[in-house]
C-alpha cells in the first residue's frame, strides 16, 4: 500500500489524518480513491474538468508528477506521495 501525506489545510477533510494508505497503482487512481473515501477533498484537488488543480502539486518521492508521467505515474507499495498546495502566508 502506497502512503499519501495529506497537508494540514486539507486534513479537516480526512478526519485529521496526516497519512493515508491507498491500494491504487497510479496517481490518477490514487486521487480517485482519495476523493471516493473523502468526498470533500474533491473540490480542493480537482477542477471542474476533473484535472488536478494548478495550485496543488503532487510529488512522488521527491519528484513532481509533471516531470514524470503526470496522472499516469506509477505508484508502488513503498511509494510516498505528497500533496502540497500553495500557501501564501496567512498571518496578516
Amino acid at each position: 500500500m502506497a502512503t499519501v501525506i495529506i497537508p494540514t489545510p486539507l486534513r479537516k477533510f480526512t478526519n485529521n489524518t496526516a497519512r493515508l494508505e491507498v491500494t491504487a497503482d497510479t496517481i490518477d487512481k490514487t486521487v480517485n480513491e482519495l476523493t471516493l473515501n473523502f468526498p470533500d477533498l474533491k473540490k480542493h484537488l480537482l477542477d471542474e474538468q476533473g484535472q488536478i488543480r494548478s495550485f496543488v502539486n503532487i510529488f512522488v518521492g521527491n519528484d513532481d508528477i509533471r516531470n514524470l508521467q503526470q496522472g499516469q505515474t506509477a505508484v508502488k507499495a513503498d511509494t510516498v506521495i505528497s500533496i502540497v498546495p500553495a500557501i501564501a502566508g496567512g498571518v496578516a
Binding site: P9, F55, N62, D64, V84, P85, I87, G89, G90, V91
Partner: protein, 387 residues
C-alpha cells in the same frame, strides 16, 4: 555583489563578525560579500522579523524593507522584531530602530508603502537579492514576476498554520543556467474562498521563526556562494509531524513569464489575476448601531455567529454559534420569518455564509453585521474583549 576586494572592515566589525570569518568555508571573503550586498525584504511580519534580525546581525551591508502596515498587538505572538511600545507605529520605522540597535555598521533603507505593479520594478531594481515574506497571493506573484523581469534571485518563504515552504527562485547556477520560479511551481493561485483566510487559518507563532530563519540562511548562501542553495528544490516542513521533505522542481516550457512563449512581458494586475477583484453579488448589511436600535426597540430577530468555538469563547454577544464550515448542515436552525443577523470577527466569513445560504437554500432575510464583532465592540460595547 562585485568589487568585494575593496570592502574593508573596521576593528569593531572584525571583532563582531569573528565567528563568521573563522569558519574555513566562509572566511573574510564571504563576509565582504555580505557587506557589499543589498537585500530587500518584502514584508516585516512573521517571516520578515527573524529574517531581518539574522541578516542585520550577519552584516548584510544594505537592507531594504517594504511594508505599509503598523504594528498591532496581535502581531506580537510571532513578529519578534517588535515590542509593546511599537504598537500603533509603522512597522518599517520600528524595524529600523531595532536593527540599528543590533548592528550600527549596516544601512537600512525604508519603503513605507504597499508594493504594487506600479512601483515594484522601481523599488526592486537596486537590490541584489529579494526575500519574499508576504502574506497574500497577489503580492507573491507580483514579487515573482518583478524579480524574473529584473533578473534578481528571489528567496521565497511561506507559512500556513503548521506548514512552511522555502525555495530559491530565479537564481543562475555556476554554469549560468537559470533556475525555476514560483510560476513553475504553482502556475496559478487558488481561487479566493477555497483557502481559508488569515483570520480563520492562523499560524503557530514559532513557525515563522523557523521558516524565516531558513530564509535568512538561503539569502546568505545566495549572496556568498557558500554551499548549495534551494535553487531547483522546494523545501517543505510540517511542524505537527516534524517531517521535512525537499522536492525537486524545474522550469516549465509553458511558464507564462519565461517559458518558451512568454505572454507576460510587464507587470500585470495581480489582484485581478488572483481573482480578488471578482464581482460578487452584494448582500444586505446592518451596522452595529442599527442592530443596537433593533435591540432597543425590542424587534424580533435571530443572531448567528459563524466564527469558531475558540473565538466564541474569547468573546461573544450571545449569538447562536454555527461555524462557517457547518452553516449548510445547520440551515434548518436559521429562521426564515424574521431578520437574521450573521456576524463573524470582521465581516468576511459571515458574508461567505450568507452567500452560501442564499444560493443553496434561497434565504432572503439574512443581514451581515458590518465590521463584525470588532466593530460592534468599538461602537456599542467597548468593555468587551477584542482579539
Amino acid at each position: 555583489m562585485s568589487n568585494n576586494n575593496s570592502v574593508t572592515f573596521s576593528k569593531e566589525e572584525l571583532a563582531r563578525y569573528n565567528r563568521h570569518i573563522i569558519i574555513p568555508e566562509f572566511g573574510l571573503e564571504a563576509q565582504q560579500k555580505l557587506k557589499a550586498a543589498k537585500v530587500l525584504i518584502v514584508g516585516s511580519g512573521g517571516l520578515g522579523s527573524p529574517a531581518l534580525l539574522y541578516l542585520a546581525a550577519a552584516g548584510v551591508g544594505t537592507i531594504g524593507i517594504v511594508d505599509f502596515d503598523v504594528v498591532d498587538d496581535s502581531n506580537l505572538q510571532r513578529q519578534v522584531l517588535f515590542g509593546v511600545e511599537a504598537i500603533g507605529k509603522p512597522k518599517v520605522e520600528e524595524a529600523k530602530k531595532r536593527l540599528e540597535a543590533l548592528n550600527p555598521h549596516i544601512k537600512i533603507i525604508l519603503h513605507n508603502t504597499q508594493l504594487t505593479s506600479q512601483n515594484a520594478l522601481e523599488i526592486l531594481k537596486d537590490y541584489d537579492v529579494v526575500a519574499d515574506g508576504t502574506d497574500n497571493f497577489p503580492t507573491r506573484y507580483l514579487v515573482n514576476d518583478a524579480t524574473v523581469l529584473l533578473g534578481i534571485p528571489n528567496v521565497f518563504a511561506s507559512i500556513f498554520q503548521f506548514e512552511g515552504q522555502v525555495s530559491v527562485f530565479n537564481q543562475r547556477n555556476e554554469k549560468g543556467e537559470l533556475g525555476p520560479n514560483y510560476r513553475d511551481l504553482y502556475p496559478t493561485p487558488p481561487p479566493p474562498g477555497l483557502v481559508p483566510s488569515c483570520a480563520e487559518g492562523g499560524v503557530l507563532g514559532v513557525l515563522p521563526g523557523i521558516i524565516g530563519s531558513l530564509q535568512a540562511l538561503e539569502t546568505i548562501k545566495v549572496i556568498t556562494g557558500v554551499g548549495d542553495t534551494l535553487n531547483g528544490r522546494f523545501y517543505h516542513f510540517d511542524a505537527l509531524t516534524f517531517e521535512s521533505r525537499t522536492f525537486n522542481i524545474s522550469r516549465r516550457d509553458d511558464n507564462p513569464i519565461n517559458g518558451k512563449n512568454p505572454t507576460i512581458t510587464a507587470l500585470i494586475d495581480y489582484e485581478q489575476f488572483c481573482g480578488v477583484k471578482a464581482v460578487e453579488k452584494p448582500i444586505k448589511e446592518i451596522t452595529p448601531e442599527e442592530l443596537y436600535n433593533l435591540q432597543v426597540k425590542g424587534e424580533a430577530y435571530q443572531i448567528i455567529d459563524v466564527r469558531e468555538q475558540s473565538e466564541y469563547d474569547i468573546v461573544n454577544i450571545g449569538a447562536e454559534l454555527i461555524p462557517l464550515s457547518t452553516v449548510s448542515a445547520n440551515a434548518d436552525r436559521i429562521s426564515r420569518d424574521q431578520k437574521v443577523i450573521v456576524h463573524c470577527k470582521m465581516g468576511g466569513r459571515s458574508a461567505k455564509a450568507i452567500r452560501e445560504l442564499e444560493e443553496k437554500f434561497g434565504f432572503d432575510n439574512l443581514y451581515n453585521l458590518k465590521g463584525g464583532i470588532l466593530a460592534w465592540i468599538d461602537q456599542v460595547q467597548p468593555e468587551l474583549t477584542k482579539y
